[in-house]
Symmetry: C2
């Protein structure tokens, strides 16, 4: 609110992205809980949940409500408080974004689901452990430059490859962090944004899409139709294709997820995500910088906050305020926020207003 | 979907109103879970949570997205599955809509919070146990006529007054039910609605508002500012005032809540809700029929479903399809959906299209 130069009285709706606050903290009905504590009352205050894409969903509906003229200024906050629970309980809460009557009941957790996805991607396309490790090394290097990152330490490819196994072929370094965190953006009309800020950022395209929750209901587990559908809509709305995107924040809940996102978003051909990453193309100085924030791997993954935090990072880059991790071409940034093993996705394209 | 004459392919967004599915059933990420099971994939699928106003919030954002031209046909479903948990656990889950760091930690449950509200209303305005009982008797009488009601039995004023105490002055007959249930409506453009239905129903006005979650943060616990703010917006949008509303579905989570809603919505003066109810004015044949469905007291209160079910009942009345509980004047119906002890509220005014 300080950054946007607004006070509580200027906010005419409050959108909270939060996945599992009631399970993590015991408190439900969190939207007015948070908004009232900010002095915001008397306006719509709603929690949006779409698993790990909860922040993206809160933003999607804010963009919709402002674009449609329903509201003028919506504060979108994403938040998750995860560390107050012991690790096995955290894993159980996260698993509740999967199909509890099938895969979860059979013992699956998200690391094991994405391990199956990784194994299949390796089988189909020759993706290697080294490709996965390259994603982790790059995201840790970026996160080390981000003062807001949870885990600011670089790792070597050798360290990544020697990581403690979590769910074969994924090691500790392939998995995102369990974090506490929050992020916020103000969504308002272009006119109002130009009054408030010298460097406003514009929503050029946005799409949200869904799919089956259970992994075994998907035809092909190495691609996510919801990501493709959301991206298609965002690209169409923005009038721009994947080759025109300068940089991106992708949902690297696991390293394999960043590789598949590169493919589903059309940044590379199917199966080419691993070699593209290992060649350094997604590094800050590469042809398509990805997760300059450090991504979920290093910046952290407070679930409900993630989709909003991605947009904050796009805005920093577009404004040229990303400091040592600033990319050269920063006109058009894309954020991809994934929920579960692909049942929810929000893709947003931002540019200078 | 059958009633609206649409198939999964016609739905371009899915809104799920659900308060605490993860706590009640273990399953989170419920929106795509439900939408995919209906054959709806590839479109935005999001859960909306605003405690007991979750269904209303899901509908509010659907109306906003269609009015703003973002989507053409949104399926809004409200659902809660409550009976799989033992009663003490249900009470605990419901209490999580209150302030868990204050009032809930101190032992409050919703019956005890609304008991304090009732006691204060009695003190301020002379409301009596007989007034409260009149609401219960009327809603049970209405629910007995509703084939979709959970508890279809009439009760006498004597029975209501002799009810087992829950939280003084509230007895068992002052409290809504713990129910499993779901409700659904299709929100689409007026043009599309007229193609689909011979008797479409139109959203004439709608408002959502919020307030502090903790009861002790409210200046006056006998009135809910969020209800007033939401109603004011709905009335303004509809170009109609309380005297023009023919009938209403009000959020009688407790009998006192219906009495206060009558006042906050401007149907009667402050403090007059009890005598108005006891005089039979809110009965099906009265001057302002309220909760012809049986309300939360008799139809049931599957939390996330309630706000959507209220709209289904308004639609039945507006279409003249309410059978033995049909009201005479049914042009303009109002639904009021409350969350927690007044921290969330959605008010919707429907009429014939």
């Amino acid at each position: 609110m300080r950054n946007a130069g607004v006070s509580a009285a200027n906010i005419d709706a409050f959108h909270l992205g939060n996945f599992a606050g009631p399970s993590f903290t015991g408190q439900n009905h969190i939207a007015p809980y948070v908004s009232a504590s900010l002095g915001i009352t008397g306006v719509p205050s709603t929690r949006f949940e779409a698993a790990c894409a909860s922040g993206g969903a809160a933003f999607f509906h804010a963009a919709a409500c402002v674009a449609g003229g329903v509201h003028d200024a919506i504060l979108v906050v994403g938040v998750e408080k995860m560390t107050s629970q012991p690790t096995p309980k955290v894993a159980e809460i996260l698993a509740s974004a999967g199909d509890c009557s099938g895969e979860v009941r059979a013992g699956s957790t998200f690391p094991s689901l994405f391990a199956m996805i990784a194994r299949r991607h390796m089988h189909e396309f020759g993706t290697t452990r080294e490709h996965l490790a390259a994603v982790a090394v790059k995201n840790h290097a970026n996160g080390a430059l981000n003062p807001s990152a949870h885990l600011r330490k670089t790792i070597t490819i050798e360290q990544a490859l020697a990581g403690k196994p979590v769910a074969d072929p994924l090691t500790l370094f392939d998995c995102s962090l369990v974090s506490d965190g929050a992020a916020a953006v103000l969504v308002t009309t272009l006119e109002h944004a130009r009054e408030l800020s010298a460097r406003p950022v514009r929503v050029l395209g946005i799409g949200q899409a869904s799919d089956h929750v259970a992994l075994d209901r998907k035809r092909d587990i190495t691609t996510f139709p919801a990501v493709k559908a959301a991206a298609e809509r965002a690209y169409r709305m923005a009038g721009a294709g994947p080759s025109e995107i300068d940089f991106a924040e992708l949902h690297d809940c696991f390293t394999i997820a960043e590789i598949i996102a590169l493919e589903d978003l059309g940044f590379v051909e199917r199966g080419a995500g691993g070699p593209f990453s290992a060649a350094g193309c997604t590094a800050i100085g590469g042809s398509k910088p990805v997760n300059t924030s450090g991504g979920l791997k290093s910046k952290g993954h407070p679930v409900g906050a993630t989709g909003v935090a991605q947009l904050c990072d796009l805005a920093l880059q577009i404004r040229g305020e990303a400091g040592p991790r600033q990319v050269k071409r920063h006109s058009l940034g894309l954020a991809q926020n994934l929920g579960g093993s692909g049942a929810s996705c929000v893709v947003t394209i931002l540019g200078a207003a």
